[in-house]
């Protein structure tokens, strides 16, 4: 059994794990074969697709998607390349929620002991104080200071991001990665807490300025 292409059904779409070592020309053959085998798996529903395991160029990605378009009745609403995090170029951030109804807005600050837990993305218009928690399956956007805990992609989506005007969390989690900014480190490196975004790249959480 060839395992260069693996399909996984997830709650909000299909995850396709690609082998990163074999040449693309071989991969695309395997891919087409797998798609044909798995026609029934796709059905003709609306779904989002996430590629994982391998960096794809825009062209390669298009070729793979074309195969799915041609061979299945799948209506692809969204494509997420989970391996190559594209968020930092002009294309926008990696994981944009496919379902337009799955973002909630919270107006006001979250104080210690308050928590938002949501199976989608969360926008907080206010601060998240130490002891406050935002836990989301999607992205977390805080129009204020994040001083408490944020957990984006809590169901395992590594393409999710956390952004805030001031990103100085007690603890930060994306998917299954947990981190914090040690006080000494922040002091030593004179970290300025400016509008920032945190995302996963190569198995680590990175923080980059938003502007």
């Amino acid at each position: 059994m060839n395992n260069s292409v693996v399909f996984k059904g997830r709650k909000r779409g299909i995850v396709i794990v690609l082998d990163k070592d074999i040449p693309f020309s071989e991969l695309i053959v395997d891919f087409k074969q797998k798609v044909l085998q798995a026609k029934s798996f796709f059905g003709d529903s609306k779904a989002s697709i996430t590629f994982q395991g391998r960096a794809l160029s825009t062209d390669e990605e298009k070729q793979l998607l074309d195969i799915i378009f041609k061979e299945t009745g799948l209506n692809i609403s969204f494509v997420d390349n989970g391996y190559d995090y594209k968020s930092l170029d002009s294309e926008g951030y990696g994981y944009i929620d496919p379902d337009e109804n799955s973002t909630i807005y919270h107006k006001g600050s979250l104080r210690s002991g308050q928590a938002i837990v949501y199976a989608g993305s969360v926008v907080v218009i206010g601060d998240v104080n130490p002891g406050g928690e935002v836990i989301a399956e999607g992205n977390i956007i805080i129009l204020g200071s994040l001083k408490g805990l944020a957990h984006a992609g809590c169901a395992g989506n590594k393409g999710c991001f956390v952004s805030a005007y001031q990103l100085r969390p007690t603890q930060l989690r994306i998917a299954n990665i947990i981190t914090y900014i040690p006080k000494e480190f922040a002091k030593k490196n004179k970290i300025r807490f400016e509008p920032s975004v945190a995302y996963i790249k190569g198995g680590q959480i990175y923080i980059a300025p938003l502007v």
Partner: protein, 265 residues
């Protein structure tokens, strides 16, 4: 076989959490294996006083609800590898735990660790019942103020009715200058009223505020008087006999110098 000690007071703000952090750390400094449990669910504090707040992943409720194994929820201390914190949940309420569950937890920890220190929430409601459920002995913290002593008396009564006989007392935030002036109750005044044995006296000390700002318990600070008081307390807990600290010792000299300076200016 380890010992489970609950640190309680009735009134809030008298230094339960500070005492718990310092006693736990102090025992670890003596080489004991220690687990500190923050039983103040919904108002957790012990983690920040110890400077461990950014390492919390699981908490007491997760352990009790079986979302994780006990040791997954343990946070190892920065300084002492034989010291662990089991943090309280911040976003749940205290009805999530029952006294029976706490008893079970304490009994399983007792097998493996020398001391289990439980930081009890203020009040006499369910949080208090949970925190005391698995305890072998109790330490009551009070300050020399009428409200705190009154609540301590109430707590001592409740502890005795729970078969936690002979609790011992920590008298916290004593200011020797005020005691001398007759404006603060002295150790003897408080023990006379409460009629329990004194475990230790802790002087009011700026180092306590500074150390909790930094997340480093004062007991690790050699120059702090409060730290010394807590080192003595931990030694007494392990059975060593240490005389109660003479609070007037260097404070007298300091105030004399202050007086001199004021006189000169």
């Amino acid at each position: 076989m380890g010992e489970v000690i609950v640190i309680t007071s009735g009134k809030g703000g008298v230094g339960k959490t500070t005492a718990s952090a310092n006693i736990g750390t102090g025992l670890a400094m003596l080489g004991k294996s220690v687990v500190m449990i923050d039983a103040d669910i919904g108002l957790r504090n012990l983690d920040v006083v110890l400077g461990l707040e950014n390492r919390i992943v699981y908490d007491l409720i997760d352990v009790i609800e079986g979302n994780c194994r006990i040791k997954q929820a343990f946070i190892k201390d920065k300084r002492y590898s034989n010291l662990f914190l089991l943090p309280a949940a911040q976003t749940k309420d205290k009805t999530a735990v029952s006294p029976e569950q706490m008893l079970k937890l304490c009994n399983s920890l007792r097998e493996e660790y020398d001391f289990i220190i439980i930081d009890c929430p203020a009040g006499i409601e369910q949080g208090f019942n949970n925190a005391t459920a698995g305890a072998d002995r109790a330490i009551v913290v009070t300050t020399p103020e009428v409200s705190a002593v009154r609540d301590a008396d109430r707590i001592i009564g409740l502890l005795e009715s729970k078969d936690l006989k002979n609790p011992t007392l920590i008298l916290n935030r004593i200011r020797q200058d005020m005691v001398k002036r007759g404006d603060m109750m002295a150790i003897e005044d408080v023990t006379e009223i409460l009629a329990i044995d004194i475990l230790g006296v802790v002087p009011e000390d700026e180092a306590i505020v500074i150390s909790s700002n930094k997340g480093e318990p004062a007991v690790t600070d050699d120059s702090s008087r409060a730290g010394k008081a807590f080192r003595n307390i931990t030694k007494r807990i392990t059975g060593e006999e240490v005389p109660i600290m003479d609070l007037s010792a260097d404070r007298g000299l300091l105030s004399k110098m202050k007086k001199l300076l004021r006189f000169g200016s």
